[in-house]
Structures are given as structure tokens and as C-alpha cells.
């Protein structure tokens, strides 16, 4: 559920529909596009309902015919049963596809609502079922259907298809219609009466009502067209609001999703923590501890030899010294991996600067923080940047990297970009999903944008308070 978010091309940022003339003009094609989406939805609904209807009617007809004519079998039965069969076949093969298409449509509506109508709509789809067998991608029909039909979101999406088909188009088409009527019915005939635009005369006949002078017609036309333009953004927002009313998950569903997410991140955090402790224990056991034992033995041997063979004793003492130096080096590496001292000393910004200095890349660090994030966040962010810089050096093929860190809107924001070849793929195990997983424990997200040909930009965001 919380993996690496791959940045979408258009971006699903929430934007208010523009209030200037440009924004109002842009609202019209957007309304038309949404209307197109609405028509697609209606068609989809028909595709979904028709075979079901066919199956039910076929069965009904068949039974009725049997009752009325006694038990027999003729061409009428063949027709009815064929309907039933087609309907059943659709349920078996087409229904999951159609339902997923509905879901796609609803997701597109959510995205466009955020981008065009300025109304952000959350989603709470149940996570996709895991495959029947590990390694295969197959999910049985029964499980797939119970996943789809058991998800309240599916029903909300269907509800949205119906409601938008019934009333949505009024909101979307009203501004466009006002503009068209204003121009075609009023402005064109009004202008047609002027000698300059003589050719327009035949295009439309002026509506007949008392006092329909060209001037009055023109005024009415301008008012209608202007009104259409004027209400377009409002209509779009209204449409978005309506969509949210239907499509937004219930509080219960949102909480359920949150609980599931928390349970998962907690599990992963505990697993990671336990694995880390095991690693540290093993490193100490095989490293420093073993070296100290060896040192003790060497010193003991030196003690025994010191009177009889001072030269050999001296050699053993030097050996003990070298062993202690190696133990120190190992402990230093271990400590760096647990909690880098420079992070404790100086905080995140300087620790990242130290990382950049140690990186084989030409790494530039910009930005600063007005305070210190909580220690666990600091540590997670540090190791994230460390991992990402190592990734850049290993995989990107680029030679320079830029790290920017700042704090705004209650979140620590770090971006790491490079001049490499791009095309980073989180599924190919470049450590990105590991970083995303660790950040998820703090409700942090990692957004990757890495078009082939570069540049790769990774944005990380972790909500936290500074002290």
C-alpha cells in the first residue's frame, strides 16, 4: 500500500479553478471533458446493466413460457436460454473487467476533481487480494469478486455513475450551453443586421418577441455568453463538490484504512528493529568481542614470555596493539551504522553536509532547518539520504547530486536530485522501496520522478514538529 509513489505526469495537486478570464475560458473545455467522462460512465453503466438484464429477462421468459405452455422445448426457449447464457458469460468474464473500468473512471474523476475543480477527494479502496500462490499472478474469480463487491468503494463508484449521469451533466453543460445560445441565437443575428456583417444574416433567424431590436438582442447575447463564462468555474466546483459527496469514503472506511496502514507499518518497523538488533549482536560477537578475547590471550602469552624471551613478548604486545586498533575500527563502523555521531552532534543539516563531503559525487547541499526534528525522524531522514546518495553513485551514471532540505507546512521536506540517466525503477530493488518503507513508519512519503534520460528527482516528506 505504501510503496514508492511514482510521480504522475500531470500531478494531482489541488488547484482552485481560475477566477481570471483565462481560468474561466479554461473551465469550459474542462467542463466538456468532464461531460465526456460522464458519457463514458453512462455507456459503461449500460454495458454493465444490459447483460444482467438480458440474463434475468431470459430466465424469466423461459420460466413463464414453460408454465404457460407445459414442459416442452422450442425455438422460443432457445432464444430465452441464449439470453441467459450470454448474461451468465458476462458475469463470469466481463463483470470484473467492467467493475475495474468503473473504478478507473472514478479514480480519474478524483484526480480531475482535484486538478480542475479544486476539490480533493480521498479514496479508500481495499488492498488488492494477494495471488493464490506466491509467484503466480492469478487470483481466483471468487476471491476477485468478493474483493470487488465487498468493497464499499465499488458501490460508491457505481452510485457516482448513476448520479452523475442523472444530474451531473446539468452543471457541466449549463455554462457551455449559455455561451452557445448567447452567441448563436442572439449575437450572430444581431450582428447580421449590421451592413458590415451582412453575410451572417442567413446563419440564424432572430428570435421573435416584442422589442427585439438588434441592440437588445446583442445585449441579451452578451449577457448570456458572459454569464456562461462567469459561472463556469463555480459550476466546475459544484460538480467537484457533488463528486466528493458521493465518492469520498466514509469516515469509517477511512479509519479502517488508517488502522490497516498503521498495523502494517508497525509490523514492518518492529521487524526492521529486531533485524537490526540481531545484526548488531552478530557484529559485536564476531568482531569486537572476538578481538578482545584474542587480545587477552596474546597479552597473557606476552606476560608469560616477558622474562624468558623479551623479544617475542614485545612482538606479541605489538600484535595485541594491532588487534585493538582493528576492534576500534570495527566498533566505529558499527556506531556509524546505528547512530552517526555527527548527527547527534550537529543535527540533520550538518550531518547531511558531512554525508555529501564523504560521497564520491559532487554533492551540493542547500536549505536549512529552523529547528531539530525528533531524533527518530532525524535518523530515518539521514539514512534515507545516505541510501539515496549511494544509489546515485552506484546506479545513476551521473556525477553530481543536489540535496535540498527545508521545513514547511508541518513537514520536513528533502529532495535529492541527480544528473544521471534516469529510469530508476523502484521494483528493481534499488533500495528505494526500503527507504519508502522506513519513512512510512512516520507517515512519510517518497515520490520518485525518473524519466528515462533523467534527471531523477526524489522528494521525501515526513510530517513532524521541530524543537
Amino acid at each position: 500500500m505504501h510503496g514508492v509513489v511514482v510521480a504522475a505526469g500531470g500531478g494531482a495537486r489541488r488547484a482552485r479553478p481560475g477566477q481570471g478570464l483565462g481560468g474561466r475560458l479554461a473551465a469550459l473545455p474542462r467542463a466538456l471533458a468532464l461531460a465526456g467522462l460522464l458519457v463514458t460512465g453512462a455507456v459503461l453503466l449500460a454495458v454493465l446493466l444490459a447483460p444482467l438484464l438480458l440474463a434475468v429477462v431470459g430466465l424469466g421468459q423461459f420460466l413463464k413460457y414453460q408454465l404457460n405452455h407445459g414442459v416442452n422445448f422450442d425455438s422460443q426457449d432457445v432464444r430465452d436460454l441464449l439470453g441467459l447464457l450470454v448474461g451468465l458469460a458476462f458475469c463470469r468474464f466481463g463483470l470484473p473487467i467492467a467493475l475495474l473500468a468503473v473504478r478507473r473512471l472514478a479514480m480519474l474523476t478524483r484526480r480531475l476533481s482535484a486538478g480542475w475543480c479544486g476539490v480533493a477527494i480521498g479514496e479508500a479502496y481495499a488492498p488488492a487480494p494477494v495471488p493464490d500462490r506466491p509467484g503466480s499472478r492469478k487470483v481466483s474469480y471468487q476471491r476477485r469478486m468478493s474483493w470487488l463487491l465487498g468493497d464499499a468503494s465499488t458501490w460508491r463508484d457505481l452510485e457516482w455513475l448513476v448520479i452523475s449521469a442523472l444530474v451531473g451533466w446539468v452543471l457541466l453543460l449549463a455554462p457551455v450551453a449559455m455561451l452557445c445560445v448567447g452567441v448563436v441565437t442572439f449575437i450572430v443575428p444581431a450582428l447580421g443586421s449590421l451592413p458590415v456583417f451582412h453575410g451572417l444574416e442567413g446563419l440564424a433567424t432572430p428570435p421573435a418577441f416584442p422589442g427585439n431590436t438588434p441592440f437588445v438582442l446583442f445585449l441579451i447575447g452578451v449577457a448570456l455568453a458572459g454569464g456562461g463564462l462567469w459561472i463556469a468555474p463555480t459550476a466546475l466546483r459544484g460538480y467537484g463538490g457533488m463528486a466528493r459527496l458521493v465518492l469520498a469514503p466514509s469516515r469509517e472506511a477511512e479509519l479502517a484504512r488508517r488502522v490497516e496502514q498503521l498495523a502494517q507499518t508497525r509490523r514492518e518497523t518492529l521487524d526492521t528493529g529486531a533485524a537490526e538488533l540481531r545484526r548488531i549482536e552478530r557484529d559485536l560477537h564476531d568482531g569486537a568481542q572476538a578481538r578482545l578475547v584474542a587480545m587477552g590471550l596474546t597479552l597473557d602469552a606476552a606476560g608469560r614470555l616477558i622474562d624468558t624471551d623479551p623479544a617475542a613478548a614485545r612482538a606479541l604486545l605489538y600484535e595485541a596493539r594491532d588487534t585493538s586498533a582493528r576492534a576500534l575500527a570495527e566498533l566505529r563502523d558499527l556506531v556509524r551504522g546505528i547512530h552517526p555521531p555527527v548527527l547527534a552532534d550537529r543535527g540533520l543539516a550538518d550531518a547531511i553536509r558531512a554525508l555529501a563531503l564523504d560521497s564520491p559525487l559532487r554533492a551540493r547541499v542547500t536549505g536549512s532547518l529552523p529547528g531539530r526534528p525528533p531524533a527518530p525522524v532525524e535518523s530515518a531522514a539521514y539514512f534515507a539520504v545516505s541510501e539515496l546518495l549511494a544509489n546515485v553513485a552506484k546506479h545513476s551514471g551521473g556525477g553530481t547530486a543536489e540535496v535540498d532540505l527545508r521545513y514547511s507546512d508541518g513537514a520536513l521536506r528533502i529532495s535529492v536530485s541527480d544528473d544521471g540517466a534516469g529510469g530508476a525503477d523502484p521494483s528493481r530493488g534499488t533500495g528505494l522501496s526500503g527507504v519508502a518503507r522506513r519513512l512510512a513508519a512516520f507517515d512519510g512519503v517518497l515520490v520518485l520522478s525518473s524519466p528515462v534520460g533523467g534527471p531523477t528527482v526524489i522528494n521525501m516528506e515526513v510530517p513532524c514538529a521541530l524543537s
Partner: protein, 215 residues
């Protein structure tokens, strides 16, 4: 030669005192925190100060900050900073004033008493003593990004890293078991290849190399 020591761990402080006294230094004061260190250098005006980076009360980089303060107050005061780990960031801060007479070494280096006291003397005399690990990382970084460093021969790179650690031609010659003339030849070649101003003054030469690597 009079030394002031700032080290909070008793075992290590004691060990340092014994080591330095064994090599003929006079320990004027041995303190265990940053504040006491500042007053000790003010009153004793030692020939060199040896400071641990991590000191109470904050147990962060208290010692480093005290060292930088002391240098600001008493310009040119030779200071050798010891640490359980080395950071290029801190090395840069210590070198920032360009005056030399600074050292930055891993605590591990005290294990080799002769080498360590040699470094202390070098700093006291106005030279530098950078930990080999700092230099290795500087070189790795410079080598990764294409540049004139690639033009150096392996031997020249060896000489360059020893020079960056702060060693004189004589010391480098002894270390590599070659004549001083051979080292001088390598040094001249390095300076030409890196397009640096040659200098007869050891300290200025070291600082130029460090500045070049730290770019």
C-alpha cells in the same frame, strides 16, 4: 614542551598524560570539560593543546567548539583534536582559518606512541596533522570526480597523501624508504600536475594541498 589536555574519560586522560610524559612533554593541566579547558589554556598558555571532540556537559562536539573558541581567542594556539571518529566537515572547520598549527586525529592513533607524539610536536611547531582516514576520504572523493588527480602516478599519490597528512619531505622519505631528493622530485611533479604554486615552506605547502583536495 607544555601541554594542556582535555579528555573526559579518566582512563584515557591518565593514559595520555603517561604517554606524553614518557616522551618528554610537560603536562601543564589535564581537564575533563570544555569550560575548564578554555580557562586552562588562558592561564597556562601551553605550547600545544590536546582536546577530545566529545566532552561534557553536552557530550556532542563540545570539545571541537571549545578548540575553535580557544583559537579565536588566542590566535595561532596549536591544537590537536582527538576523536573516536573523523568527519571531513570538522576537518574543514579546523582548517578554515588557514593558519595551520592544527591536528585532527582518530583516538586510535595514540596506540602508536612514537607516531602520535611526533604529530603533537608537529602541531606545536605550527604544522598540521591530519588523520590518514580524512586524507584517504578526501583523495577518494577527488579521484572519483575526474580531474588532474588522475594524472598522478601511484607513487605520487602516495607522496601526496603523506604530504596532506602534514609530513615534511624528510618524514615522507623515511616513511617510503627513499631519499629526500626523490621525494622533492615527486613533490615538484605533483605541484606542476595539479597546477599549484610551489613553496619551500612545509606548512604552506600542506595547506595548499589540503585546500586543493577539499575543493
Amino acid at each position: 614542551m607544555r601541554v594542556v589536555i582535555a579528555e573526559d574519560l579518566f582512563l584515557l586522560r591518565d593514559g595520555l598524560i603517561r604517554l606524553l610524559e614518557a616522551y618528554g612533554f610537560e603536562v601543564a593541566a589535564a581537564v575533563d570539560n570544555g569550560g575548564d579547558f578554555l580557562s586552562a589554556v588562558r592561564s597556562h598558555r601551553p605550547d600545544v593543546a590536546v582536546v577530545d571532540v566529545r566532552l561534557p556537559p553536552t557530550f556532542t562536539d563540545e570539545g571541537l567548539r571549545a578548540a575553535l573558541r580557544a583559537r579565536a581567542e588566542l590566535p595561532g594556539l596549536p591544537i590537536l583534536v582527538l576523536s573516536q571518529y573523523v568527519e571531513q566537515l570538522y576537518a574543514r572547520e579546523l582548517l578554515a582559518d588557514g593558519a595551520g598549527a592544527v591536528g585532527y586525529l582518530l583516538k586510535d592513533r595514540v596506540l602508536d606512541g612514537a607516531q602520535f607524539t611526533d604529530a603533537v610536536k608537529r602541531v606545536a611547531d605550527g604544522g598540521t596533522a591530519m588523520d590518514p582516514e580524512v586524507i584517504a576520504r578526501l583523495l577518494a572523493r577527488s579521484a572519483a570526480t575526474e580531474g588532474p588527480l588522475a594524472k598522478l602516478s601511484p607513487r605520487e599519490r602516495e607522496v601526496l597523501s603523506l604530504m596532506a597528512e602534514g609530513r615534511s619531505n624528510a618524514a615522507i622519505a623515511a616513511r617510503l624508504v627513499v631519499t629526500e631528493r626523490a621525494v622533492a622530485k615527486h613533490t615538484a611533479s605533483i605541484f606542476t600536475k595539479l597546477d599549484l604554486q610551489p613553496s619551500d615552506d612545509d606548512n604552506r605547502r600542506v595547506l595548499a594541498v589540503l585546500a586543493y583536495l577539499g575543493r
